[in-house]
């Protein structure tokens, strides 16, 4: 069972519909006990970084961190990916999980914000998440804060300058775009995650 972690913000229906389409059993939950029983965990997210504070309040945060330490595959989407870092300029007083070092920054005001639409990926070879995904595929983004390129970046995207579109380390995965809204490419990526 894949636990889709609910923290009271964003569209969880879309992620679950995509998993239904892939024939994957999933549960939308904020119950730490259910998260501890899950074979895989997805933390979706749209909205404000501050809303991730609800993860600590419900006990989901410590359940996720325990599971990650046991090697349970984890995928953070959009704000869910940003939560994997230490924090975000969007809500400096809300800590992330620090699964990865670094913080999220706001795009400079020189471009239209939010960065909305289909943009191109530059995918590093050897990524587990991007198996069978073509180089330069387009995926759907909607965000104003970004994660700078770092040594775990497995796909980058350019908006003004380049940023981390996806990160990967062992069984930890994060994507800034929305695979559940990125057509065939996104479904392939979710299928890859479910197969890990």
């Amino acid at each position: 069972m894949v636990a889709i972690v609910d923290y009271g913000a964003g569209n969880l229906v879309s992620v679950q519909k995509a998993l239904d389409w892939l024939g994957q059993d999933s549960r939308v939950t904020n119950d730490p006990a259910e998260i501890r029983r899950a074979a895989k965990i997805i933390l979706p997210g749209v909205g404000h970084f501050a809303s991730t504070r609800a993860l600590a309040d419900s006990g989901a945060r410590s359940a996720i961190i325990e599971q990650v330490e046991r090697g349970i595959p984890f995928l953070g989407i959009c704000v869910g990916m940003q939560w994997m870092l230490e924090g975000s300029a969007e809500a400096p007083r809300t800590p992330g999980s620090a699964l990865f070092a670094g913080t999220c920054l706001r795009f400079p005001e020189t471009a239209k914000l939010p960065h909305v639409g289909w943009n191109q990926l530059e995918i590093s070879p050897g990524s587990k998440l991007f198996r069978h995904v073509s180089q330069s595929s387009l995926v759907y983004f909607t965000h104003s804060f970004y994660i700078p390129l770092n040594k775990w970046t497995v796909a980058s995207c350019a908006y003004g300058s380049s940023f981390s579109a996806a990160m990967e380390r062992d069984r930890l995965f994060g994507v800034q775009f929305h695979p559940e809204k990125s057509g065939e490419v996104g479904l392939q990526l979710l299928a890859n995650f479910c197969a890990i």
């Binding site: 569209n11 909205g47 639409g117 289909w118 387009l138 908006y159």
Partner: protein, 255 residues
């Protein structure tokens, strides 16, 4: 590079898609869920479903239509028409919409935009503006209630206010052009797009691929929406995108 989006719009009355010609004279064009699939497969980057029945006539039917349309749709899906409260917006999101579009209610209560954005994020809130210039190059005026009621507000000023209230995108419809197939209003689109930082979706007047090129080049649109040209087999999204790509406009094609 961020691509220009082509958004297929389904005007829905009850549980059927109808074609809007200057907000009147409706013709039936089919089932929303089936049409959304057709557009997605032929290359649409997003689907917008606008409920054009009298506002709040039948919310249950709309929610069921949204649920059915969203079930197998894996591209962004926006729903608008008759959303007046945070609770109504929440119901549309839980039926499967990724974004909601508000028009009349946002003008009546501008802080509604803020309340929805605070709960669901700015990226989930599209403010739809129906604008009409009329005679003598007067400033564009904002209309509500499906284009029936003048508000006395200027489109440019209202777009800026909507942005500062937390809107994530603006869906800008030229009432002068809507349903005429005589091309988008590039001047209106450029005026608004250059004045706000959020993306602007141009709407109203699409007839040919040339119209789309013009609204991206001259109108500075981030996305363009069309309804009627796609419904009757005049052109599908793939043909349109092929033509835009050949002209050097970045689009998601093939997809």
């Amino acid at each position: 590079m961020l691509t220009k989006r082509i958004i297929a719009c389904l005007d829905v009355h009850g549980d059927r898609v109808v074609k809007g010609v200057q907000f009147a004279q409706l013709r039936d064009a089919g089932d929303p869920a089936a049409l959304a699939q057709v557009h997605a497969q032929s290359g649409a980057d997003e689907i917008v479903l606008l409920d054009i029945s009298a506002a709040n006539e039948d919310r249950t039917t709309l929610l069921e239509t949204v649920r059915r349309t969203a079930r197998q749709l894996f591209i962004p899906f926006t729903v608008g028409g008759g959303i007046r409260t945070l609770e109504e917006a929440a119901a549309v999101f839980s039926a499967g919409a990724d974004k909601i579009s508000i028009n009349t209610a946002a003008l009546a209560d501008p802080k509604l935009v803020t309340r929805i954005a605070e709960r669901f994020g700015s990226q989930a809130v599209v403010v739809a503006i129906d604008a009409k210039r009329g005679e003598n190059r007067a400033p564009w005026q904002v209309f509500t209630h499906g284009g029936r009621r003048a508000t006395g507000r200027h489109a440019l000023e209202w777009a800026r206010e909507a942005e500062s209230n937390g809107a994530g995108e603006i869906l800008l419809t030229s009432m002068d052009r809507d349903g005429t197939a005589s091309g988008f209003d590039c001047e209106l689109t450029r005026t608004v797009s250059d004045a706000v930082q959020i993306p602007v979706i141009a709407s109203g007047g699409a007839g040919t691929a040339e119209d789309f090129k013009a609204v991206f080049w001259e109108g500075h649109a981030d996305a363009a929406l069309a309804a009627s040209i796609f419904h009757y087999g005049l052109r599908d999204v793939g043909d349109l995108k092929q033509s835009l790509k050949s002209a050097g406009i970045p689009v998601r094609w093939p997809c």
